[in-house]
């Protein structure tokens, strides 16, 4: 758990603002373990995942509670060797067909978690310990041949517990509402396992709806999900979580999830989907042009809610 990996680049508050393709190229080498989908249904880093697919990354390990359909897409693109997750599918339609095919053919190794065990595996790494105790999953199939779960007894009470081994991802991908050039980022809305995953990971790559001056971030330090000195790269990617929702920015595009169900039922259909939505658009801007202004306008916020003020003065 002892990590000596900060480069001086990460420590200095010099700019880490680079393009998404450069960030994925540098911080997601083949074979990496990649945590994503850390806000569960919200703020899924689809743009970053699609860039990984576009760059034909291979042998990745995916880590996350649920990822909605992102993990299924990356599996379909052949990027993935191994999954440590609680759930892989398409939240509003059910099965992830690429995931199903890959598991049923034996091509994909899966370490099954529950949301609680994956959350605590990441928290263990974030806290710098090699395991965390839980009371869930005892007696379930999760314990069958699972290298990261073990029954233990509480050293004080003797109560049966499960130990969950720490998971420290090589890189955590998160999508945020706003970040400054040093990587300090604001997130609001539900937080999922984002914070612990960022603290657990060797590198953090951020895609942000907006790049803002540092003064904006330090105007509200309680909204910081992770301070810049723990971040490796920041990429300006508006709509970078589409079709997942982002608080304050855009609603969920349910249609994309329903269309994907049909587009992933067969390997052939998935190839066409990937060609259209991932490989042909060379950038997120191309993707948004393909999506179209009309569809985007349907997703923007129509009802607003601004918080009661607070004061951080002295």
């Amino acid at each position: 758990m002892c990590r000596g990996f900060f480069t001086s680049v990460e420590r200095m508050s010099t700019s880490k603002l680079i393009s998404l393709s450069e960030a994925i190229g540098r911080f997601v080498p083949d074979g990496s373990s990649v945590a994503a989908g850390l806000g569960l249904e919200a703020s899924i880093p689809f743009a970053a995942g699609h860039e990984i697919m576009r760059q034909r990354k291979r042998g990745l390990g995916l880590i996350g509670p649920i990822s909605d359909m992102l993990f299924d897409q990356m599996i379909g693109a052949g990027c993935v060797h191994r999954v440590q997750a609680a759930w892989v599918g398409n939240v509003i339609t059910g099965s992830g067909y690429n995931f199903r095919r890959a598991v049923e053919s034996g091509a994909l190794r899966v370490e099954d978690h529950s949301n609680l065990t994956i959350a605590m595996a990441l928290k263990a790494a974030a806290m710098g310990v090699s395991f965390m105790p839980v009371r869930t999953a005892l007696g379930s199939g999760l314990f069958v041949a699972h290298p990261g779960l073990k029954p233990i007894a509480c050293p004080f009470t003797g109560t049966p517990l499960a130990a969950v081994a720490a998971i420290a991802p090589d890189v955590a991908l998160i999508h945020v509402q706003r970040a400054d050039e040093s990587g300090s980022a604001h997130v609001w809305g539900n937080l999922g396992v984002m914070r612990d995953a960022c603290l657990a990971a060797r590198h953090v790559v951020i895609t942000a709806e907006e790049i803002v001056p540092a003064a904006v971030i330090v105007s509200d330090p309680n909204r910081v999900i992770i301070p810049g000195f723990r971040v490796s790269a920041v990429c300006h990617v508006p709509w970078g979580a589409h079709p997942a929702p982002v608080a304050g920015c855009y609603n969920r595009d349910h249609r994309a999830f329903i269309e994907y169900r049909n587009a992933s039922r067969t390997p052939e259909a998935f190839v066409r989907w990937q060609e259209r939505w991932v490989d042909t658009p060379k950038s997120r801007d191309d993707y948004l042009r393909l999506l179209g202004a009309e569809r985007m306008s349907e997703l923007v916020l129509r009802n607003h809610l601004f918080p009661a003020p607070v004061d951080y003065g002295y």
Partner: protein, 256 residues
């Protein structure tokens, strides 16, 4: 008689399982509708806990398809970490939760992972998500699923979400701190569990369904409750509420 389909009845039955003031760990699909229906009828003080880090004591202002949809965050009571929600669950603060499944057995064990089992996978399903945690840690949980013989098996191929295991004492033996399934709401009726044997007992038949229908779709010999009742059909008001929460029929029609 009001016009309704089985999923409407399941939503209504789910809602009736929630008492006012309870802390409910809410899943998606029919359980979400059941929670909303309960909140807007007999359980206005019920509090909803969502695993992605949301607690609400109020209805979302617009229909939602996932718990991450922005209306579900709007005027929430608490937005926080998944670990905070799991802490509420693990420490015993959650009264009731609802989960679905692909296979269930007579002890209420659920499989949503591997049809055929891990060693001989026939169909890989999405997995646990939070279901295993809800089944392990809520004070009680309710199972909701379509009643088909291939799903109602003597023994599930894999336990994703533990029920009563292999019978009385199993949960204590493996170390689960509390809980267990209190009902299975199906497209045909409602099972409860015998406190002595931990096995299903058919306690309610949906309108128009016979015991023979249920037995024909259940892979173990039925036991009937002494006070076997008929599930009251949804009222017009309940159906109107459901239509408000699921205006496109996305969830209710998915189960037809």
């Amino acid at each position: 008689m009001t016009d309704y389909i089985p999923s409407h009845l399941m939503v209504v039955a789910a809602a009736r399982e929630i008492a006012d003031g309870e802390i409910v760990f809410v899943g998606m699909r029919l359980p979400l509708l059941g929670f909303l229906l309960a909140k807007s009828t007999h359980a206005p003080h019920a509090v909803g806990v969502y695993e992605l880090g949301v607690v609400r004591d109020d209805m979302a202002p617009a229909p939602i398809l996932t718990m991450g949809d922005l209306p579900n965050l709007y005027r929430a009571l608490w937005l926080a970490d998944t670990a905070d929600m799991m802490g509420l669950l693990q420490s015993g603060s959650v009264d009731v939760s609802f989960i679905g499944g692909a296979q269930v057995d007579r002890f209420g064990n659920l499989n949503t992972s591997y049809i055929g089992g891990v060693e001989n996978v026939q169909t890989r399903l999405p997995g646990s998500g939070g279901a295993c945690d809800l089944a392990s840690l809520a004070r009680r949980h309710i199972i909701i699923m379509a009643h088909e013989r291939r799903r109602f098996l003597p023994r599930v191929d894999y336990i994703t979400s533990p029920g009563y295991g292999d019978g009385p004492g199993w949960r204590e033996r493996v170390g689960l701190p509390r809980g267990g399934p209190s009902a299975i709401i199906t497209t045909l009726g409602i099972f409860r569990f015998d406190p002595g044997t931990s096995e299903t007992v058919l306690s309610s038949l949906h309108p128009g369904v016979t015991v023979e229908d249920v037995q024909a779709h259940t892979g173990w010999p039925l036991r009937l409750a002494q006070d076997l009742v008929r599930t009251p059909p949804p009222t017009a008001r309940e159906l109107a509420m459901i239509a408000r929460f699921d205006p496109s029929g996305y969830w209710t029609r998915a189960n037809e």
